[in-house]
């Protein structure tokens, strides 16, 4: 069966059949492969639809069955175009729309990047721009294999890149080597100057994994600030245990020290609080490139207030951001009041500040093993005082100091 869309494009007619033998006419049509639809018995006649090409095949069947056909309605694209043949602007519009559609389909309008975690989409888009690939670039100017190779060269942690064009979309599939990814890797710049690793703080060695050099401390041993943990001197001994020669290298090791750190924090119980009004006034803001247009103004400019500007860039496609942002400016008027923390509130706040400090240490790859902090509240302030036991890499590098050669007695 032909679909409705195809019927419309090819054109079809609705006809009325007046016949002495209508069933025979219908059977002849069916045997000849003439497709009929919407067949309806109406007032001693039959009405149905058939395609234009099939309509011209009906003449022999009419002659055989003594039938007459009347065209009731002409439907479909060919008849529509014929009816509107004198409307030149209409056809020009259709032609222009098709031409514009064809022209626009020659450009990239959406750059879709997936699989990236370490490298942000913005970074990759910026690099693509330096290569001359952006939204609106001609499709034929993009060499996908070359683009994939270029991205792998530029971003070494990308282990696999696939670039393909689908319609007007440039799709980049990226696979990154997540295991080797270190955002702030300082080890990339290895200094080969011979050096020892020394403790930067007093503590107890928890673990030591030496990659280069001679370990001078064992796990569990107590070290002072400045003690050598891994020496950069390598002694090469002979079969008899005698030192034949010495080599100096830049010591390299993972050393974790358990250290103690004093913690002290205090804050006054009296503090200022902003009480905001419930009703906020706002007006819309439009930003085009660097020009910002405010569609309104605030009446109250003297009261203490916060102004909050929220702008949302307009996206044409997923990553195609137009230089147009819409948003609003909100005015929040407040009054300042002085409040005093209760004992419980002060303790909770002190605990919160301690937790925030511990979280900050965790971000610096320092593990808090235990905390012995006492919180005391007096009439005017709250004080937290105590000691934190930390596990961290408290190690510094120091240039090797070759041992003084013993003077040979002559």
């Amino acid at each position: 069966m032909t679909g409705k869309g195809v019927r419309f494009l090819k054109g079809y007619v609705q006809i009325r059949l007046i016949s002495r033998e209508p069933e025979r006419f219908l059977n002849l049509c069916a045997h000849a492969g003439v497709e009929l639809w919407d067949l309806l018995y109406k007032g001693h006649a039959y009405e149905f639809c058939l395609s234009v090409s099939d309509f011209f095949r009906l003449q022999p069947f009419c002659r055989k069955t003594g039938s007459r056909v009347l065209i009731l309605k002409k439907n479909g694209m060919p008849f529509f175009l014929h009816r509107n043949r004198k409307r030149k602007a209409f056809f020009l519009g259709i032609f222009l729309a098709g031409a514009i559609l064809f022209l626009l389909s020659c450009f990239i309008w959406n750059i879709h990047i997936e699989g990236n975690h370490a490298n942000t989409t913005r970074e990759i888009l910026d690099h693509l721009e330096t290569l001359g690939i952006a939204h609106g670039t001609v499709k034929t100017s993009i060499d996908c294999p070359e683009l994939a190779a270029e991205l792998r060269r530029e971003f070494p942690d990308m282990i696999w890149v696939s670039a393909r064009i689908e319609g007007t979309r440039l799709i980049l599939n990226i696979k990154e080597n997540e295991e080797s990814y270190e955002p702030n890797s300082e080890k990339e710049h290895v200094d080969d100057t011979p050096a020892d690793l020394i403790a930067s703080e007093d503590g107890i060695v928890q673990s030591i994994v030496t990659r280069r050099g001679t370990p001078a401390a064992l796990p569990g041993s107590e070290v002072k600030k400045g003690d050598v943990l891994v020496s950069g001197m390598l002694e090469i001994t002979g079969d008899s245990g005698e030192v034949i020669s010495r080599r100096y290298v830049a010591a390299d090791a993972d050393i974790r020290l358990v250290t103690q750190e004093a913690y002290e924090d205090h804050f006054p119980l009296k503090h200022q609080v902003r009480v905001y009004q419930k009703k906020n006034s706002w007006y819309p803001v439009i930003r085009i490139f660097d020009w910002q247009f405010q569609l309104g103004f605030f009446t109250d400019r003297d009261s203490p207030q916060d102004r909050c500007l929220t702008l949302q860039p307009v996206h044409l496609t997923e990553n195609f951001v137009l230089p147009l942002s819409l948003g609003k400016m909100v005015q929040k008027i407040y009054s300042t009041k002085t409040r005093t923390y209760s004992d419980k509130e002060a303790e909770a706040l002190a605990q919160k500040r301690l937790e925030a400090y511990c979280a900050k240490l965790s971000k610096e790859k320092i593990k808090v093993l235990s905390q012995d902090v006492k919180i005391s509240v007096n009439e005017t302030s709250c004080t937290s005082k105590g000691t934190l036991t930390l596990l961290k890499e408290a190690v510094n590098s120091r240039p090797c100091q070759p041992p003084k050669e013993p003077q040979n007695k002559k």
């Binding site: 069966m1 069933e23 009929l36 309806l40």
Partner: protein, 92 residues
């Protein structure tokens, strides 16, 4: 001795597990509720008006009585009748 009514084609089709509508061109009537009937493997329309439609197949005829009967499409192999069906008769 009585002679058995031995029909080869149906038995062969059954043993080969070929559907009878393919092997013997048996008609397939598919009703959807009481308002839609799809007919395959028919021969011809014998009579049609808005209350009655009679269709001939290879082995039998059947007719449908109802109201506002309309043939939604009609090709050499398949037709679809819609309307409000009231009675269906099989004439063997």
């Amino acid at each position: 001795m009585k002679r058995r009514n031995f029909q080869l084609a149906p038995r062969l089709a059954d043993s080969l597990q070929i559907p009878r509508d393919l092997s013997l061109r048996e008609p397939v009537l598919t009703f959807t509720g009481k308002s839609e009937l799809c007919v395959e493997n028919y021969r011809k329309i014998l009579e049609y008006n808005q209350h009655f439609i009679c269709i001939e197949t290879k082995n039998f005829r059947f007719s449908v009585e109802g109201r506002d009967l309309k043939i939604q499409y009609y090709t050499g192999e398949e037709m679809k009748i819609i309307g409000c069906f009231e009675k269906i008769f099989f004439h063997c």
